[in-house]
Protein backbone atom coordinates (compact mmCIF):
# COMPACT_ATOMS: atom_id res chain seq x y z
CA UNK A 1 0.00 0.00 0.00
CA UNK A 2 1.51 3.32 -1.01
CA UNK A 3 0.86 6.72 0.50
CA UNK A 4 1.78 8.92 -2.43
CA UNK A 5 2.93 9.01 -6.01
CA UNK A 6 4.26 12.43 -6.96
CA UNK A 7 5.68 13.41 -10.31
CA UNK A 8 6.70 16.35 -12.40
CA UNK A 9 7.43 15.45 -16.00
CA UNK A 10 8.39 17.09 -19.25
CA UNK A 11 8.54 15.13 -22.46
CA UNK A 12 9.67 16.31 -25.87
CA UNK A 13 9.66 14.38 -29.10
CA UNK A 14 12.17 16.30 -31.19
CA UNK A 15 11.04 19.90 -31.06
CA UNK A 16 7.46 19.00 -30.11
CA UNK A 17 6.67 19.43 -26.42
CA UNK A 18 4.18 16.69 -25.60
CA UNK A 19 4.14 17.12 -21.82
CA UNK A 20 5.00 20.51 -20.42
CA UNK A 21 5.98 20.19 -16.77
CA UNK A 22 3.03 18.00 -15.87
CA UNK A 23 2.93 17.87 -12.08
CA UNK A 24 0.61 15.83 -9.88
CA UNK A 25 0.51 14.16 -6.51
CA UNK A 26 -1.66 11.09 -6.19
CA UNK A 27 -2.49 9.85 -2.69
CA UNK A 28 -2.74 6.20 -1.76
CA UNK A 29 -6.13 4.62 -2.64
CA UNK A 30 -7.00 7.60 -4.78
CA UNK A 31 -8.60 7.25 -8.20
CA UNK A 32 -7.26 10.00 -10.42
CA UNK A 33 -8.46 10.47 -13.96
CA UNK A 34 -6.47 12.27 -16.59
CA UNK A 35 -8.99 13.66 -19.04
CA UNK A 36 -8.18 15.32 -22.32
CA UNK A 37 -8.73 15.30 -26.06
CA UNK A 38 -6.87 12.99 -28.42
CA UNK A 39 -3.19 13.82 -28.75
CA UNK A 40 -2.92 15.88 -25.56
CA UNK A 41 -0.28 13.55 -24.12
CA UNK A 42 -2.29 11.21 -21.90
CA UNK A 43 -0.70 7.97 -23.06
CA UNK A 44 2.71 9.60 -23.02
CA UNK A 45 2.19 10.48 -19.36
CA UNK A 46 1.28 6.89 -18.44
CA UNK A 47 4.17 5.48 -20.43
CA UNK A 48 6.55 7.77 -18.59
CA UNK A 49 5.14 6.71 -15.23
CA UNK A 50 5.49 3.05 -16.19
CA UNK A 51 9.06 3.63 -17.35
CA UNK A 52 8.35 2.58 -20.93
CA UNK A 53 9.67 5.87 -22.25
CA UNK A 54 12.12 8.24 -20.65
CA UNK A 55 11.20 11.80 -19.66
CA UNK A 56 13.12 14.69 -21.15
CA UNK A 57 13.16 16.20 -17.69
CA UNK A 58 11.53 15.58 -14.35
CA UNK A 59 11.19 13.07 -11.59
CA UNK A 60 8.81 10.49 -10.18
CA UNK A 61 8.62 9.78 -6.46
CA UNK A 62 6.84 6.87 -4.89
CA UNK A 63 6.42 7.45 -1.15
CA UNK A 64 9.15 10.05 -1.43
CA UNK A 65 11.66 7.75 -3.10
CA UNK A 66 12.73 8.50 -6.65
CA UNK A 67 11.81 5.71 -9.02
CA UNK A 68 12.38 7.36 -12.40
CA UNK A 69 15.71 5.58 -12.73
CA UNK A 70 14.15 2.16 -12.33
CA UNK A 71 13.35 -0.01 -15.36
CA UNK A 72 9.63 -0.77 -15.82
CA UNK A 73 9.88 -4.28 -14.39
CA UNK A 74 11.15 -2.95 -11.06
CA UNK A 75 8.50 -0.31 -10.46
CA UNK A 76 5.86 -2.78 -9.40
CA UNK A 77 3.08 -1.15 -11.39
CA UNK A 78 0.23 -2.76 -13.27
CA UNK A 79 -1.01 -1.42 -16.55
CA UNK A 80 -4.06 -1.95 -18.72
CA UNK A 81 -3.42 -0.96 -22.31
CA UNK A 82 -5.87 0.65 -24.68
CA UNK A 83 -5.62 -2.27 -27.11
CA UNK A 84 -5.43 -4.81 -24.23
CA UNK A 85 -2.00 -6.07 -25.36
CA UNK A 86 -2.76 -9.63 -24.27
CA UNK A 87 -0.17 -12.20 -25.24
CA UNK A 88 -1.82 -14.08 -28.11
CA UNK A 89 0.36 -17.17 -27.70
CA UNK A 90 -0.56 -17.66 -24.05
CA UNK A 91 -3.81 -18.88 -22.57
CA UNK A 92 -5.92 -16.58 -20.46
CA UNK A 93 -4.55 -18.29 -17.37
CA UNK A 94 -0.95 -17.86 -18.52
CA UNK A 95 -1.61 -14.22 -19.36
CA UNK A 96 -2.86 -13.57 -15.86
CA UNK A 97 -0.01 -15.60 -14.37
CA UNK A 98 2.60 -13.76 -16.44
CA UNK A 99 3.78 -11.34 -13.77
CA UNK A 100 3.61 -13.96 -11.03
CA UNK A 101 5.79 -16.42 -12.93
CA UNK A 102 8.37 -13.70 -13.42
CA UNK A 103 8.27 -12.94 -9.72
CA UNK A 104 9.17 -16.54 -9.07
CA UNK A 105 6.03 -17.47 -7.15
CA UNK A 106 5.31 -21.11 -6.47
CA UNK A 107 3.11 -23.15 -8.77
CA UNK A 108 0.31 -23.65 -6.27
CA UNK A 109 0.28 -20.01 -5.26
CA UNK A 110 0.13 -18.91 -8.89
CA UNK A 111 -2.71 -21.30 -9.70
CA UNK A 112 -4.68 -20.09 -6.70
CA UNK A 113 -4.09 -16.44 -7.49
CA UNK A 114 -5.01 -16.83 -11.16
CA UNK A 115 -8.20 -18.53 -10.10
CA UNK A 116 -9.01 -15.69 -7.71
CA UNK A 117 -8.25 -13.00 -10.28
CA UNK A 118 -10.41 -14.64 -12.93
CA UNK A 119 -13.18 -14.94 -10.39
CA UNK A 120 -12.75 -11.27 -9.56
CA UNK A 121 -13.22 -10.23 -13.18
CA UNK A 122 -15.94 -12.85 -13.64
CA UNK A 123 -14.10 -15.07 -16.08
CA UNK A 124 -14.02 -18.29 -14.09
CA UNK A 125 -13.69 -21.18 -16.50
CA UNK A 126 -11.94 -19.21 -19.20
CA UNK A 127 -8.38 -20.00 -18.06
CA UNK A 128 -7.64 -22.39 -20.92
CA UNK A 129 -8.94 -20.24 -23.74
CA UNK A 130 -6.72 -18.10 -25.92
CA UNK A 131 -7.25 -14.34 -26.12
CA UNK A 132 -8.27 -14.71 -29.78
CA UNK A 133 -11.28 -16.71 -28.66
CA UNK A 134 -12.66 -14.03 -26.36
CA UNK A 135 -14.93 -11.07 -26.98
CA UNK A 136 -13.60 -7.54 -26.59
CA UNK A 137 -15.10 -7.15 -23.13
CA UNK A 138 -13.68 -10.47 -21.97
CA UNK A 139 -10.24 -9.59 -23.29
CA UNK A 140 -10.53 -6.31 -21.46
CA UNK A 141 -11.20 -8.12 -18.23
CA UNK A 142 -8.26 -10.47 -18.78
CA UNK A 143 -6.06 -7.41 -19.22
CA UNK A 144 -7.35 -6.06 -15.93
CA UNK A 145 -6.83 -9.40 -14.20
CA UNK A 146 -3.26 -9.56 -15.50
CA UNK A 147 -2.52 -6.12 -14.13
CA UNK A 148 -4.17 -6.85 -10.79
CA UNK A 149 -2.51 -10.23 -10.33
CA UNK A 150 0.84 -8.63 -9.50
CA UNK A 151 -0.75 -6.59 -6.68
CA UNK A 152 0.41 -3.37 -8.33
CA UNK A 153 1.55 -0.48 -6.18
CA UNK A 154 -0.10 1.76 -8.75
CA UNK A 155 -2.57 0.70 -11.42
CA UNK A 156 -2.33 2.56 -14.72
CA UNK A 157 -5.24 2.37 -17.12
CA UNK A 158 -4.99 3.79 -20.64
CA UNK A 159 -8.47 4.31 -22.10
CA UNK A 160 -9.36 0.75 -21.13
CA UNK A 161 -12.96 1.04 -22.24
CA UNK A 162 -12.57 2.89 -25.51
CA UNK A 163 -12.89 -0.19 -27.71
CA UNK A 164 -16.07 -1.47 -26.12
CA UNK A 165 -19.67 -0.85 -27.12
CA UNK A 166 -21.79 1.51 -25.05
CA UNK A 167 -23.50 -1.10 -22.89
CA UNK A 168 -20.36 -3.03 -22.08
CA UNK A 169 -18.54 0.21 -21.38
CA UNK A 170 -21.08 1.09 -18.72
CA UNK A 171 -20.82 -2.37 -17.20
CA UNK A 172 -17.04 -2.36 -17.13
CA UNK A 173 -17.01 1.11 -15.67
CA UNK A 174 -18.88 -0.19 -12.66
CA UNK A 175 -16.58 -3.20 -12.52
CA UNK A 176 -13.46 -1.03 -12.42
CA UNK A 177 -14.90 1.16 -9.74
CA UNK A 178 -15.78 -1.88 -7.65
CA UNK A 179 -12.33 -3.44 -8.03
CA UNK A 180 -10.61 -0.18 -7.15
CA UNK A 181 -12.57 0.12 -3.94
CA UNK A 182 -12.50 -3.58 -2.97
CA UNK A 183 -8.77 -4.00 -3.49
CA UNK A 184 -7.70 -0.64 -2.10
CA UNK A 185 -5.90 0.27 -5.30
CA UNK A 186 -4.20 3.48 -6.27
CA UNK A 187 -5.23 4.14 -9.84
CA UNK A 188 -4.44 6.57 -12.61
CA UNK A 189 -6.99 6.38 -15.36
CA UNK A 190 -6.66 8.00 -18.74
CA UNK A 191 -9.69 8.80 -20.87
CA UNK A 192 -11.26 11.33 -23.19
CA UNK A 193 -14.77 10.45 -22.00
CA UNK A 194 -16.15 12.93 -19.48
CA UNK A 195 -18.85 10.56 -18.24
CA UNK A 196 -16.23 7.95 -17.38
CA UNK A 197 -14.12 10.53 -15.62
CA UNK A 198 -17.02 11.89 -13.60
CA UNK A 199 -18.34 8.53 -12.50
CA UNK A 200 -15.04 6.90 -11.57
CA UNK A 201 -12.79 9.53 -10.10
CA UNK A 202 -11.90 10.98 -6.76
CA UNK A 203 -10.09 13.63 -8.72
CA UNK A 204 -10.00 14.72 -12.34
CA UNK A 205 -7.05 16.33 -14.05
CA UNK A 206 -7.82 18.02 -17.33
CA UNK A 207 -4.99 18.02 -19.79
CA UNK A 208 -4.63 20.11 -22.90
CA UNK A 209 -1.55 20.18 -25.11
CA UNK A 210 0.46 18.54 -22.37
CA UNK A 211 -0.50 21.02 -19.68
CA UNK A 212 -2.91 20.79 -16.73
CA UNK A 213 -5.80 23.17 -17.37
CA UNK A 214 -7.79 22.36 -14.27
CA UNK A 215 -7.82 19.74 -11.54
CA UNK A 216 -10.41 18.98 -8.90
CA UNK A 217 -13.15 16.68 -7.74
CA UNK A 218 -15.72 15.60 -10.33
CA UNK A 219 -18.27 18.01 -8.82
CA UNK A 220 -15.85 20.91 -8.94
CA UNK A 221 -14.92 20.25 -12.55
CA UNK A 222 -18.51 19.65 -13.51
CA UNK A 223 -20.03 22.67 -11.81
CA UNK A 224 -17.19 25.14 -11.77
CA UNK A 225 -15.19 24.88 -14.99
CA UNK A 226 -12.60 27.64 -15.13
CA UNK A 227 -12.17 27.80 -18.89
CA UNK A 228 -14.31 27.48 -21.98
CA UNK A 229 -12.23 24.45 -22.91
CA UNK A 230 -13.13 22.61 -19.70
CA UNK A 231 -16.76 23.71 -19.91
CA UNK A 232 -16.95 22.34 -23.43
CA UNK A 233 -15.49 19.07 -22.23
CA UNK A 234 -18.01 18.92 -19.37
CA UNK A 235 -21.06 19.12 -21.56
CA UNK A 236 -21.81 22.84 -21.67
CA UNK A 237 -23.08 22.85 -25.25
CA UNK A 238 -24.11 26.53 -25.45
CA UNK A 239 -21.56 29.32 -25.53
CA UNK A 240 -22.35 33.01 -25.97
CA UNK A 241 -19.63 35.61 -26.32
CA UNK A 242 -20.59 38.61 -24.13
CA UNK A 243 -19.14 41.60 -22.38
CA UNK A 244 -19.31 41.90 -18.61
CA UNK A 245 -21.66 44.76 -17.64
CA UNK A 246 -21.64 44.59 -13.86
CA UNK A 247 -20.46 42.35 -11.06
CA UNK A 248 -21.57 41.68 -7.53
CA UNK A 249 -19.71 39.01 -5.58
CA UNK A 250 -19.43 35.89 -7.68
CA UNK A 251 -22.28 36.69 -10.01
CA UNK A 252 -22.02 39.00 -12.99
CA UNK A 253 -24.33 40.40 -15.59
CA UNK A 254 -23.02 40.21 -19.13
CA UNK A 255 -24.61 41.27 -22.37
CA UNK A 256 -24.21 41.37 -26.12
CA UNK A 257 -26.86 43.24 -28.07
CA UNK A 258 -30.31 42.14 -26.89
CA UNK A 259 -28.97 39.15 -24.99
CA UNK A 260 -28.39 39.72 -21.28
CA UNK A 261 -27.34 36.88 -19.00
CA UNK A 262 -26.69 36.79 -15.30
CA UNK A 263 -24.48 33.95 -14.15
CA UNK A 264 -21.93 32.60 -11.73
CA UNK A 265 -18.24 33.23 -12.11
CA UNK A 266 -15.50 30.87 -11.12
CA UNK A 267 -12.69 33.13 -12.20
CA UNK A 268 -13.13 36.80 -11.14
CA UNK A 269 -14.26 39.13 -13.93
CA UNK A 270 -14.58 42.90 -14.01
CA UNK A 271 -16.93 45.11 -16.00
CA UNK A 272 -15.73 45.55 -19.56
CA UNK A 273 -14.01 42.14 -19.69
CA UNK A 274 -14.73 39.94 -22.68
CA UNK A 275 -16.54 36.86 -21.42
CA UNK A 276 -18.29 33.70 -22.57
CA UNK A 277 -21.51 32.47 -20.99
CA UNK A 278 -21.85 28.69 -20.91
CA UNK A 279 -24.99 26.69 -20.20
CA UNK A 280 -25.90 23.03 -20.52
CA UNK A 281 -28.85 21.99 -22.71
CA UNK A 282 -30.52 20.22 -19.80
CA UNK A 283 -30.37 23.31 -17.55
CA UNK A 284 -32.53 25.46 -19.83
CA UNK A 285 -36.27 25.53 -19.05
CA UNK A 286 -39.40 26.85 -20.72
CA UNK A 287 -40.95 29.88 -19.04
CA UNK A 288 -43.89 32.26 -19.06
CA UNK A 289 -41.89 35.12 -17.55
CA UNK A 290 -41.73 38.38 -19.47
CA UNK A 291 -38.52 39.06 -21.44
CA UNK A 292 -35.59 40.25 -19.35
CA UNK A 293 -32.15 39.04 -18.27
CA UNK A 294 -31.84 35.24 -18.66
CA UNK A 295 -35.14 34.98 -20.52
CA UNK A 296 -34.86 34.57 -24.26
CA UNK A 297 -37.24 33.99 -27.14
CA UNK A 298 -36.69 32.04 -30.29
CA UNK A 299 -38.02 29.74 -32.94
CA UNK A 300 -37.69 25.97 -32.91
CA UNK A 301 -35.45 24.97 -35.79
CA UNK A 302 -34.76 21.30 -35.18
CA UNK A 303 -36.04 18.63 -32.84
CA UNK A 304 -34.52 15.31 -32.02
CA UNK A 305 -36.19 12.52 -30.05
CA UNK A 306 -33.84 11.30 -27.32
CA UNK A 307 -36.06 8.81 -25.54
CA UNK A 308 -36.82 10.38 -22.19
CA UNK A 309 -36.55 13.91 -23.54
CA UNK A 310 -36.38 15.98 -26.68
CA UNK A 311 -33.32 17.70 -28.01
CA UNK A 312 -34.36 21.04 -29.46
CA UNK A 313 -32.36 23.60 -31.37
CA UNK A 314 -33.74 27.09 -30.99
CA UNK A 315 -32.79 30.05 -33.17
CA UNK A 316 -32.79 33.03 -30.81
CA UNK A 317 -33.89 36.50 -31.76
CA UNK A 318 -30.71 38.24 -32.74
CA UNK A 319 -28.95 35.25 -34.25
CA UNK A 320 -27.34 32.76 -31.85
CA UNK A 321 -28.58 29.20 -31.54
CA UNK A 322 -29.47 27.57 -28.24
CA UNK A 323 -29.51 23.79 -27.77
CA UNK A 324 -31.90 22.65 -25.06
CA UNK A 325 -33.46 19.50 -23.67
CA UNK A 326 -37.20 19.60 -23.08
CA UNK A 327 -39.52 17.13 -21.43
CA UNK A 328 -42.34 17.79 -23.88
CA UNK A 329 -42.29 17.68 -27.65
CA UNK A 330 -42.44 20.94 -29.60
CA UNK A 331 -43.01 21.47 -33.30
CA UNK A 332 -40.48 22.94 -35.68
CA UNK A 333 -41.27 26.60 -36.37
CA UNK A 334 -43.10 27.26 -33.12
CA UNK A 335 -42.06 30.12 -30.84
CA UNK A 336 -40.54 29.39 -27.44
CA UNK A 337 -39.70 31.46 -24.37
CA UNK A 338 -36.82 29.98 -22.45
CA UNK A 339 -35.16 30.71 -19.14
CA UNK A 340 -31.50 30.17 -18.40
CA UNK A 341 -31.37 29.95 -14.57
CA UNK A 342 -28.60 32.29 -13.31
CA UNK A 343 -27.26 29.64 -10.93
CA UNK A 344 -26.85 27.34 -13.94
CA UNK A 345 -25.12 29.84 -16.21
CA UNK A 346 -21.36 30.01 -15.89
CA UNK A 347 -19.64 33.17 -17.08
CA UNK A 348 -16.06 32.49 -18.10
CA UNK A 349 -13.24 34.67 -19.30
CA UNK A 350 -13.07 34.72 -23.10
CA UNK A 351 -10.09 32.79 -24.43
CA UNK A 352 -7.96 34.01 -27.21
CA UNK A 353 -8.77 31.73 -30.08
CA UNK A 354 -11.83 29.52 -30.22
CA UNK A 355 -12.84 27.17 -27.46
Amino acid sequence: MITSLAFRLTKRFGAKVVLDDLALEVRGREFVTVLGPSGCGKSTALNLLAGLTQPTRGEIRLDGVRIDGLPPERRGFGMVFQNYALFPHLTVGANVAFGLVLRGRGKAEIAERVRRMLELVRLTGFADRYPGQLSGGQQQRVAIARALAVEPRVLLLDEPLSNLDAKLRLEMRGEIKRLHADLGLTSIYVTHDQAEALSLSDRIVILRDGRVIQAGTPAEIHDRPQTVFVADFMGYRNFFPLTVASEEGDTVLARAGALALRGRTVVPLRPGDAAVAAVRPEDVETTTEPPGPNVVRGTVRLTEYLGREHGVEVALEGGPTLTVRLAHPVTVGSALALRLPPERVVILPAEDGAR
Binding site: G78, H89, F98, Y130
Partner: protein
Protein backbone atom coordinates in the same frame (compact mmCIF):
# COMPACT_ATOMS: atom_id res chain seq x y z
CA UNK B 1 -14.15 -16.82 -73.80
CA UNK B 2 -11.05 -14.95 -72.80
CA UNK B 3 -11.16 -16.62 -69.40
CA UNK B 4 -11.45 -20.09 -70.88
CA UNK B 5 -8.53 -19.57 -73.21
CA UNK B 6 -6.52 -18.30 -70.32
CA UNK B 7 -7.38 -21.29 -68.18
CA UNK B 8 -6.53 -23.63 -71.05
CA UNK B 9 -3.15 -21.94 -71.45
CA UNK B 10 -2.40 -22.31 -67.75
CA UNK B 11 -3.53 -25.93 -67.86
CA UNK B 12 -1.31 -26.73 -70.84
CA UNK B 13 1.61 -25.00 -69.20
CA UNK B 14 1.19 -26.98 -65.99
CA UNK B 15 0.81 -30.24 -67.89
CA UNK B 16 3.89 -29.44 -69.97
CA UNK B 17 5.85 -28.58 -66.88
CA UNK B 18 4.89 -31.71 -65.02
CA UNK B 19 5.52 -33.96 -68.03
CA UNK B 20 8.90 -32.36 -68.59
CA UNK B 21 9.88 -32.77 -64.94
CA UNK B 22 8.58 -36.32 -64.80
CA UNK B 23 10.49 -37.12 -67.99
CA UNK B 24 13.81 -35.81 -66.71
CA UNK B 25 13.49 -37.27 -63.24
CA UNK B 26 12.09 -40.52 -64.61
CA UNK B 27 14.96 -40.89 -67.02
CA UNK B 28 17.56 -40.32 -64.33
CA UNK B 29 15.78 -42.72 -62.00
CA UNK B 30 15.48 -45.47 -64.60
CA UNK B 31 19.05 -44.96 -65.75
CA UNK B 32 20.36 -45.22 -62.20
CA UNK B 33 18.72 -48.64 -61.94
CA UNK B 34 19.77 -49.93 -65.37
CA UNK B 35 22.44 -52.55 -65.85
CA UNK B 36 22.94 -51.11 -69.30
CA UNK B 37 20.65 -48.99 -71.44
CA UNK B 38 21.23 -48.47 -75.17
CA UNK B 39 18.86 -47.77 -78.01
CA UNK B 40 15.88 -49.44 -76.34
CA UNK B 41 12.85 -47.72 -74.83
CA UNK B 42 13.61 -49.34 -71.47
CA UNK B 43 16.69 -51.06 -70.09
CA UNK B 44 16.82 -54.83 -70.41
CA UNK B 45 17.77 -55.58 -66.81
CA UNK B 46 17.57 -53.59 -63.54
CA UNK B 47 20.08 -53.45 -60.68
CA UNK B 48 20.79 -51.44 -57.57
CA UNK B 49 24.52 -51.96 -57.71
CA UNK B 50 25.21 -48.50 -59.14
CA UNK B 51 24.09 -47.06 -55.83
CA UNK B 52 26.63 -49.10 -53.95
CA UNK B 53 29.21 -48.21 -56.55
CA UNK B 54 28.46 -44.47 -56.32
CA UNK B 55 28.43 -44.59 -52.54
CA UNK B 56 31.90 -46.16 -52.50
CA UNK B 57 33.47 -44.42 -55.45
CA UNK B 58 32.30 -40.89 -54.66
CA UNK B 59 32.66 -41.25 -50.86
CA UNK B 60 29.07 -40.27 -50.44
CA UNK B 61 29.01 -40.92 -46.70
CA UNK B 62 31.61 -38.21 -46.28
CA UNK B 63 29.94 -35.89 -48.82
CA UNK B 64 26.57 -36.36 -47.15
CA UNK B 65 28.12 -35.57 -43.78
CA UNK B 66 29.62 -32.35 -45.13
CA UNK B 67 26.34 -31.38 -46.80
CA UNK B 68 24.34 -31.77 -43.60
CA UNK B 69 27.02 -30.09 -41.47
CA UNK B 70 27.18 -27.11 -43.81
CA UNK B 71 23.41 -26.82 -44.16
CA UNK B 72 22.80 -27.21 -40.43
CA UNK B 73 25.50 -24.76 -39.39
CA UNK B 74 24.51 -22.15 -41.97
CA UNK B 75 20.86 -22.41 -40.92
CA UNK B 76 21.64 -22.12 -37.23
CA UNK B 77 24.06 -19.23 -37.74
CA UNK B 78 21.71 -17.37 -40.09
CA UNK B 79 18.93 -17.56 -37.51
CA UNK B 80 21.07 -16.78 -34.48
CA UNK B 81 22.65 -13.75 -36.16
CA UNK B 82 19.68 -12.79 -38.31
CA UNK B 83 17.05 -12.69 -35.60
CA UNK B 84 18.59 -9.92 -33.48
CA UNK B 85 19.41 -8.00 -36.65
CA UNK B 86 15.84 -8.33 -37.92
CA UNK B 87 14.57 -7.25 -34.51
CA UNK B 88 16.70 -4.12 -34.45
CA UNK B 89 15.79 -3.25 -38.03
CA UNK B 90 12.11 -3.77 -37.34
CA UNK B 91 12.05 -1.70 -34.17
CA UNK B 92 14.28 1.22 -35.05
CA UNK B 93 13.82 3.83 -37.70
CA UNK B 94 16.82 5.84 -38.72
CA UNK B 95 17.88 7.93 -41.63
CA UNK B 96 19.30 5.89 -44.49
CA UNK B 97 17.52 2.72 -43.38
CA UNK B 98 16.08 2.14 -46.86
CA UNK B 99 19.40 2.39 -48.73
CA UNK B 100 21.09 0.33 -46.02
CA UNK B 101 18.53 -2.44 -46.40
CA UNK B 102 18.98 -2.38 -50.15
CA UNK B 103 22.73 -2.62 -49.81
CA UNK B 104 22.26 -5.39 -47.34
CA UNK B 105 20.01 -7.39 -49.62
CA UNK B 106 22.26 -6.97 -52.62
CA UNK B 107 23.75 -10.48 -52.22
CA UNK B 108 20.22 -11.84 -52.69
CA UNK B 109 19.71 -9.97 -55.94
CA UNK B 110 22.98 -10.19 -57.85
CA UNK B 111 24.28 -13.46 -59.35
CA UNK B 112 26.43 -15.26 -56.83
CA UNK B 113 29.32 -15.65 -59.28
CA UNK B 114 29.87 -11.87 -59.36
CA UNK B 115 30.88 -11.67 -55.73
CA UNK B 116 31.69 -15.34 -55.29
CA UNK B 117 35.05 -15.10 -57.02
CA UNK B 118 36.46 -12.12 -55.04
CA UNK B 119 34.99 -13.65 -51.90
CA UNK B 120 36.73 -16.94 -52.61
CA UNK B 121 40.01 -15.16 -53.33
CA UNK B 122 39.81 -13.36 -50.01
CA UNK B 123 38.89 -16.47 -48.04
CA UNK B 124 41.70 -18.47 -49.65
CA UNK B 125 44.12 -15.74 -48.68
CA UNK B 126 43.08 -16.20 -45.05
CA UNK B 127 43.39 -19.97 -45.52
CA UNK B 128 39.73 -20.54 -44.87
CA UNK B 129 39.08 -21.36 -48.50
CA UNK B 130 38.81 -25.04 -49.29
CA UNK B 131 37.64 -25.93 -45.80
CA UNK B 132 34.19 -26.67 -44.46
CA UNK B 133 34.41 -23.40 -42.51
CA UNK B 134 35.04 -21.55 -45.77
CA UNK B 135 32.00 -23.12 -47.40
CA UNK B 136 29.91 -22.17 -44.38
CA UNK B 137 31.20 -18.59 -44.36
CA UNK B 138 30.56 -18.12 -48.08
CA UNK B 139 27.05 -19.54 -47.85
CA UNK B 140 26.25 -17.18 -45.01
CA UNK B 141 26.87 -14.18 -47.26
CA UNK B 142 23.56 -14.53 -49.11
CA UNK B 143 21.78 -16.64 -46.47
CA UNK B 144 22.07 -14.19 -43.57
CA UNK B 145 20.33 -11.42 -45.55
CA UNK B 146 17.75 -13.95 -46.70
CA UNK B 147 17.00 -14.91 -43.11
CA UNK B 148 16.69 -11.26 -42.10
CA UNK B 149 14.55 -10.52 -45.13
CA UNK B 150 12.11 -13.27 -44.20
CA UNK B 151 12.15 -12.50 -40.45
CA UNK B 152 11.64 -8.76 -40.78
CA UNK B 153 7.88 -8.72 -41.46
CA UNK B 154 7.31 -11.41 -38.83
CA UNK B 155 8.99 -9.25 -36.18
CA UNK B 156 7.35 -6.06 -37.43
CA UNK B 157 3.89 -7.46 -36.86
CA UNK B 158 4.56 -8.08 -33.16
CA UNK B 159 3.03 -5.05 -31.49
CA UNK B 160 5.35 -3.00 -29.31
CA UNK B 161 2.59 -2.82 -26.73
CA UNK B 162 3.04 -6.56 -26.11
CA UNK B 163 6.66 -5.88 -25.19
CA UNK B 164 5.54 -3.03 -22.99
CA UNK B 165 2.94 -5.13 -21.25
CA UNK B 166 5.60 -7.74 -20.55
CA UNK B 167 8.02 -5.15 -19.20
CA UNK B 168 5.49 -3.47 -16.90
CA UNK B 169 4.43 -6.79 -15.45
CA UNK B 170 7.92 -7.86 -14.58
CA UNK B 171 9.91 -9.06 -17.59
CA UNK B 172 13.47 -7.87 -18.14
CA UNK B 173 14.64 -7.11 -21.67
CA UNK B 174 15.87 -10.67 -22.00
CA UNK B 175 12.66 -12.00 -20.51
CA UNK B 176 10.67 -10.16 -23.17
CA UNK B 177 12.74 -11.77 -25.90
CA UNK B 178 12.38 -15.21 -24.39
CA UNK B 179 8.72 -15.09 -23.40
CA UNK B 180 7.15 -12.85 -25.98
CA UNK B 181 9.21 -12.10 -29.06
CA UNK B 182 10.69 -15.50 -29.84
CA UNK B 183 7.42 -17.41 -29.32
CA UNK B 184 5.51 -14.94 -31.45
CA UNK B 185 8.17 -14.91 -34.16
CA UNK B 186 8.42 -18.71 -34.20
CA UNK B 187 6.56 -19.10 -37.51
CA UNK B 188 9.02 -16.63 -39.01
CA UNK B 189 12.00 -18.45 -37.54
CA UNK B 190 10.81 -21.75 -38.94
CA UNK B 191 10.05 -20.29 -42.35
CA UNK B 192 13.40 -18.52 -42.55
CA UNK B 193 15.18 -21.66 -41.33
CA UNK B 194 13.49 -23.77 -43.98
CA UNK B 195 14.38 -21.40 -46.80
CA UNK B 196 17.99 -21.12 -45.67
CA UNK B 197 18.30 -24.88 -45.26
CA UNK B 198 16.96 -25.73 -48.70
CA UNK B 199 18.91 -22.95 -50.37
CA UNK B 200 22.15 -24.03 -48.73
CA UNK B 201 21.75 -27.67 -49.69
CA UNK B 202 21.09 -26.56 -53.26
CA UNK B 203 23.77 -23.88 -53.47
CA UNK B 204 26.26 -24.60 -56.20
CA UNK B 205 28.29 -21.51 -57.14
CA UNK B 206 29.59 -20.46 -53.74
CA UNK B 207 30.14 -23.97 -52.47
CA UNK B 208 31.88 -24.87 -55.71
CA UNK B 209 34.23 -21.88 -55.44
CA UNK B 210 35.06 -22.46 -51.79
CA UNK B 211 35.19 -26.21 -51.38
CA UNK B 212 38.28 -28.34 -51.61
CA UNK B 213 38.72 -32.08 -51.30
CA UNK B 214 36.81 -33.13 -48.21
CA UNK B 215 34.56 -30.08 -48.08
CA UNK B 216 32.31 -30.78 -51.05
CA UNK B 217 28.57 -30.87 -50.71
CA UNK B 218 26.39 -33.22 -52.73
CA UNK B 219 25.72 -30.84 -55.64
CA UNK B 220 29.37 -30.03 -56.08
CA UNK B 221 30.39 -33.66 -55.78
CA UNK B 222 27.80 -34.46 -58.42
CA UNK B 223 29.28 -31.87 -60.72
CA UNK B 224 32.77 -33.30 -60.29
CA UNK B 225 31.48 -36.79 -60.84
CA UNK B 226 30.17 -35.74 -64.22
CA UNK B 227 33.05 -33.61 -65.41
CA UNK B 228 36.16 -34.75 -63.55
CA UNK B 229 38.84 -36.71 -65.33
CA UNK B 230 38.43 -40.49 -65.54
CA UNK B 231 35.28 -41.92 -67.07
CA UNK B 232 32.64 -43.14 -64.68
CA UNK B 233 29.70 -45.18 -65.80
CA UNK B 234 26.85 -42.76 -66.44
CA UNK B 235 24.58 -45.07 -64.42
CA UNK B 236 26.57 -44.39 -61.27
CA UNK B 237 26.34 -40.63 -61.81
CA UNK B 238 22.60 -40.98 -62.23
CA UNK B 239 22.47 -42.98 -59.02
CA UNK B 240 24.22 -40.13 -57.30
CA UNK B 241 21.78 -37.63 -58.77
CA UNK B 242 18.93 -39.70 -57.40
CA UNK B 243 20.58 -39.70 -53.98
CA UNK B 244 20.90 -35.92 -54.19
CA UNK B 245 17.25 -35.49 -55.14
CA UNK B 246 16.22 -37.84 -52.36
CA UNK B 247 18.22 -35.85 -49.81
CA UNK B 248 16.71 -32.55 -50.92
CA UNK B 249 13.27 -34.08 -50.87
CA UNK B 250 13.85 -35.57 -47.42
CA UNK B 251 15.07 -32.22 -46.06
CA UNK B 252 12.09 -30.47 -47.57
CA UNK B 253 9.56 -32.97 -46.30
CA UNK B 254 11.12 -33.00 -42.86
CA UNK B 255 11.17 -29.23 -42.72
CA UNK B 256 7.61 -28.94 -43.97
CA UNK B 257 6.54 -31.22 -41.18
CA UNK B 258 7.76 -28.55 -38.80
CA UNK B 259 6.70 -25.53 -40.80
CA UNK B 260 3.53 -25.28 -42.70
CA UNK B 261 3.46 -21.64 -43.66
CA UNK B 262 -0.30 -21.48 -44.16
CA UNK B 263 -0.88 -23.28 -40.89
CA UNK B 264 1.42 -20.92 -39.02
CA UNK B 265 -0.68 -17.92 -39.94
CA UNK B 266 -3.76 -19.38 -38.29
CA UNK B 267 -1.92 -21.30 -35.63
CA UNK B 268 -3.31 -19.25 -32.77
CA UNK B 269 -6.92 -19.46 -33.85
CA UNK B 270 -6.91 -23.14 -34.55
CA UNK B 271 -6.38 -24.38 -31.06
CA UNK B 272 -9.62 -24.94 -29.29
Amino acid sequence: MRGRLWRLAVFLFVVGFVLNLAGVVGHVLVSSLARRWFATPLPGALTTEWYAYAWREFQLDQVLGVTLTVAGTVTAAALVLGFPAAYLLARHDFRGKGPLLLLFFLPLLVPQMTYGIPLATTLYRYRIGGTVAGVIAANLVPMLPLAIFVLLPFVEQISVSLEWAARVHGATRLGVVRRVIVPLALPGLLTAGLLVLVNTVANFELTFLLSGAGSQTLVVALYYAVFAAGMRPIYSVDAMAVIYMAVVLAVLVLALRLVRPTQMVFRLDRRD
